[in-house]
Symmetry: C2
Subunit: 481 residues, 2 copies
């Protein structure tokens, strides 16, 4: 199937929107930096992974086959983003008095629980850093062989000056700028202060270490993404995504490592989502100003969280507050009301041409995944649907096309709409309460000798799979299976 849609993507590497053309026709190789699993995920993670989820779903909808790889960082990500902090997982393990792998796996499960709740589709491959030590060692060996890295005292560093392209993604190349931008501790074993670790020597008490040609140690943070991206997607990939805070140093280092090793371009399109802020400041685990997804989902349905995220563009910052997310929830409820009214509506004679809406939605999404505009299309459509329904309903053909539109774009791709509001959540409790009421109504009918009604209730319940039994303790019910 030839793909009709022309998608334009803002490529951070070229700082402009470019027409998307994949390396292999119809196939997309896509890598997105996954979480460091040392705590529960927060709304900042939600913004990133919901944004990329919508992109992947959009690509697939227009006809691409996407292989989506997203790593799990379970070793090597040091605090403070420089080369000398404490490993995040080890720190969490120390605090929780358990083993690093247990911490990493518990928070990996927590992460996927949250993503499942948010309707984020699982990546095709989710490799872990600790599970790819040999691949990282091989890549480091190649870099040493080609003169881009050097061993010093059991650690290996990438020589930034050996790679001319360093800085092309972030525009940060000038040494003094880097030094003022972040405090780089000058370790005597590095040849140059901006050189970064590919492999770190471990002291004997370090809980996560592996043997290597340079002795026992562990990989630096950046090398995992180069190694795993190449392993599962090849030396040059179509898309690499991640949060804008990873642009430097992480992604800049990935480019340096990968292109020095292969001599080929590493990534064709770099996509970076912007951050979630709280009162203008970046939300992050390390800053401590975060709200976890789990806490939010106690207060809001997952679709409201998705809607809140997608109402702003992925390249805009999203300022988080309870007011903002409540407002989003209210907006979504209006769309959901229309959607459910539509689902429940009988057919009539009204006409509605869905094609212009479809065209607008496609052009919004094809323009660098403009989800706020796509949502605006839904509000426009909603108005016309409501007007038509109030005038006596949509023709069967129109109704079915409009329902398809809501289902495909609103439920499957954006993932914000849901049947009967936040359906399924707590339906068992509601059912129990409603059944209590029904049994009382039946009891009242019997007391009034209105046996027609009481029999009707019993029979209709039976039809739907509920058996009523009269016991000494009053009427009870049970599901028939």
């Amino acid at each position: 199937m030839a793909i009709q849609d022309e998608i334009y993507i803002y490529n951070t590497l070229t700082r402009q929107k470019e027409k998307f053309v994949p390396l292999r026709e119809g196939f997309i190789s896509m890598y997105v930096c996954g979480p460091t699993v040392y705590g529960h995920s927060h709304i900042g993670h939600a913004k990133s992974y919901v944004s990329f989820d919508v992109m992947v779903k959009w690509f697939r909808h227009v006809g691409y086959k996407v292989r989506y790889v997203q790593n799990i960082t379970d070793v090597g990500h040091l605090l403070g983003d420089d080369n000398d902090g404490e490993d995040r997982i080890l720190k969490a393990a120390r605090i929780e008095q358990t083993s690093p792998m247990e911490v990493a796996q518990a928070y990996t499960r927590s992460y996927y629980e949250d993503m499942d709740a948010l309707g984020v589709a699982r990546p095709n491959i989710a490799p872990t850093a600790a599970g790819h030590i040999p691949e990282q060692i091989e890549l480091i060996k190649t870099l040493i062989e080609k003169g881009h890295a050097y061993e010093a005292n059991g650690s290996v560093y990438f020589s930034v000056s050996s790679f001319e392209g360093y800085g092309k993604l972030s525009g940060r190349r000038n040494q003094s700028e880097m030094e003022s931008g972040k405090r780089v501790e000058i370790k005597s074993e590095k040849r140059h202060p901006s050189d970064f670790a590919l492999w770190k020597k471990a002291d004997p008490t370090h809980l996560m270490q592996w043997n290597s040609p340079w002795g026992w140690g562990f990989p630096g943070w950046h090398i995992e993404c180069s190694a795993m991206s190449m392993k599962y997607l090849g030396e040059t990939i179509d898309i690499h995504g991640g949060g804008i805070d990873n642009q430097f140093p992480h992604h800049e280092c990935e480019i340096a490592q990968s292109e020095s090793a292969t001599g080929k371009p590493f990534v064709r399109y770099w996509i970076h989502n912007n951050l979630v802020t709280v009162n203008g400041q970046k939300m992050s685990k390390s800053l401590g100003n975060f709200t976890t997804i789990k806490d939010l989902l106690k207060k809001y349905p997952p679709t409201a969280l998705r809607f809140f995220i997608l109402q702003s563009h992925y390249r805009s910052t999203l300022d988080f507050s309870d007011e903002a997310i409540s407002a989003a929830k209210n907006g979504l409820e209006k769309l959901n009301e229309t959607y459910n009214r539509l689902l429940q509506s009988p057919s009539g004679n009204g006409a509605l041409d869905i094609e212009p809406y479809k065209a607008k939605l496609h052009s919004a999404m094809n323009d660098d995944f403009n989800t706020p505009q796509a949502i605006a299309v839904f509000f426009d459509l909603s108005r016309e649907v409501n007007t038509t329904l109030s005038k006596g309903g949509l023709s069967e053909e129109a109704r079915s096309k409009v329902i398809d539109f809501f289902n495909i774009y609103g439920r499957e791709i954006l993932g914000v709409l849901s049947e009967t509001q936040t359906a399924m959540r707590g339906d068992s409790t509601l059912l129990a309460n409603v059944m209590k009421l029904v049994l009382e109504l039946r009891q009242a009918a019997r007391e009034k000798k209105d046996f027609a009604t009481s029999d009707l209730i019993r029979d209709r319940l039976k039809e739907t799979g509920i058996e009523v039994r009269d016991t000494k303790e009053g009427a009870t019910w049970r599901r028939l299976d």
Copy 2:
């Protein structure tokens, strides 16, 4: 907290029931062989992992802290159980036209989906074989250094004759017996036909291979469990579990590798569950006579499947048929009826002493996890509960103790009981059907000018979180959030 219960376990190694004494007081290190992820899990897997789930929950209930490690085999498990078949994951990837890692991860997710549905608690650590290549290489290096393994043409083999204890678990040690038991292809590079591969040389087109001191290749199947068990639980562990079909060669080889490397006992208690059979023949993926858990869960609630499994002892074979599982489902329904009748019952004056039931249940479970006897205790208790309820109900104190008993042993540990039968499944549909009936009753009341009833319905629904709205298309309802 001192642990009161004395647990006796049938130790396959000694072929007798032994009092369980862990290495470290109050702490249990436990390793169970996990699935090879090349297809959906079947009822044979369910029997194994439900059995060990109940053991872990029992240990925890009586006061132990358990670290439960269960691996995922995503490389190296060859077809035919000898050293020369095709890798199972690679074969599945070839059939499904995708990459081995994508296959492995998809079926890993499928496995956990099934286990979650069956209420099997996740292991503390679930390491993957492909994620522990360096650990396997280190162990192989040690074995070569100590003279228990040798390299031949880029592969490494364990020398069975170098380990005196070979055969102590399975009783299979005699060479001619082994040769007649399974066809061992005599490869010229092996010094002895019964030597087994620790590392296999890969040809250049092989999709899963890593660099090693012996060149590019991949680990043999047995080595992963030794390496990962030692990494996460130490050189000697309390319990190693698995299906009886893994006793030989897999577990025998694990012992040989581990004890040759460390000079210490590898496992103190070996626990093996027996198999699921179909008409007397082992159910297995490789034999093709399997029913997947997913297919079964379309027909039976997960609790019925657990009940079916736990009604026989883990060391007995379980013959699978639709009749057998239907019978189990009916039996379980009786217990669930009592449980739900109890939950809904008002308190009365009847007495019931729960202590004898508790004592019987503990002694059943402490006797090598005798779940069929534990279930029998529930049937006995059920009879007394029903009699007492029919005579006017249980006293508040007794009622609450009996409910605790059902909750702790029946729901949490055995995991078979559930509120309002198979609660939650399809409750949204039921709710929709019941609400339809309620709105009709309200309409009928209004037509009869019985506004007291119609108002009551509206108000009571509102209290429970449901809003009724009258539209041109008739009354509709929506959930309030």
